[in-house]
Symmetry: C2
Amino acid sequence: MKSVRFSTRGRYGVQIMVDLARHSEEGPISLKSVADRQKLSEHYLEQLVPELRKAGLVKSIRGAQGGYVLAKKPEDIYIGDVIRVLEGPIAPVECNNQTGKDCCEKTSFCVTREVWVKVRDSINDLVDSISLADLIKDADNGEGEKVNLFEDEA
Amino acid sequence: MKSVRFSTRGRYGVQIMVDLARHSEEGPISLKSVADRQKLSEHYLEQLVPELRKAGLVKSIRGAQGGYVLAKKPEDIYIGDVIRVLEGPIAPVECNNQTGKDCCEKTSFCVTREVWVKVRDSINDLVDSISLADLIKDADNGEGEKVNLFEDEA
DNA sequence: ACAAATTCCGATTGGTTTAGTAGGATATAA
DNA sequence: TTATATCCTACTAAACCAATCGGAATTTGT
C-alpha cells in the first residue's frame, strides 16, 4: 500500500518526453524506438502520446519514417504540464460538495482541507519548476546520485 | 481523473484525529459521535481507528461509555504520521526493480527518478510539519480562508 | 502501384484497489 | 443484565489501471 502515487501515465509520459528530448536532433522519433529503449509497451504509449500532441507538447509526423518531435525546446517544457495532461489535475482530495458552498462549516473537514491544498500547491510548484532540459542536464552531470525512493530502506 | 490522490483512509484519518483533538477534554469519544459529526460511516471508521491505535496515536477504552482518546498532546501528533499509518509510505512511484541495482542504467527512467524523489520528500516534509494543534488553531482563528482545491476553478 | 512503417482510434479485458457493508465476538459501565 | 462500545474477519460492488487487440488512415521508399 503506497499512497499519493502517480500512475504509469504520468511516469511513462515523462520518460517519453525525456527520451524525445535526448534524441531531438535525429528527426522524428518513432514510438517503437522509444518503447524499445524505455522497455515499455509501444501500444500503451500509443495511447498516451496523442494526448501530449493535443496538448501541444509534441508534434507528430505520420507515415513511414514518421514519429514524434518535441513541440518546444526542452528548456520550455515543464514536467508539470506533462503530468497534468496525462493524469489530470493534481488534487489530493476532492471536495465533498462540488459547489464549495455549505461545505466546510464547523466540521473538522474544513480544517483538514488546508492540508490538502498545501500538498497540492507544493507538488505543483515542484513539478512546474523542473524542465526537460533540467533533467537531461542532471543525467549528463551527476550520473544519477542513486537516491532511494523507499522510505523503509532509508 | 485526478492524480496524486490521498484515499479516504488518510483523509478520514486526519478528520478523526482532529475531531478527537477538539473534544479531548470530554473523556473517551465514541466512534459513533465522530461519525455523526463528520458524516462518515461508523463501521468504516471502525476499520481505520484500530490501526491508529496500534501505531500508538490513539488509545481505546472498551465497553459502554468507552471510546478513543489521543495518545499524545495535539501538538505532538503530526499528520504525516496519521497519513502514513493509514495509507502506507508516500511513494509517488515504485522502482522497476526492488533491489535498486541494475535499474536506472542509461535509460531515461533513471533521470526521471529524481523527480519522484523530490515530490516524495516535499510531501513528507510538508505533512510532517503540521500538527493537530496547528490545524485546530487555524480553524479557531482564520475560520478557514475558503481556499479552492480545484485547479480549474482558479 | 505497392509494401512497409508509422500514427491514429475505439473497444475489450484481467487484475487490483477502493470504499464500504455484514455479522458477529468481546468488554465494560450503569 | 442490558445497552454501549470496541474489536475482528469476511465479503462485495464499483471504479480504476495497465494494458492488449484489431484495424483504419497516412506517408515514404522501391
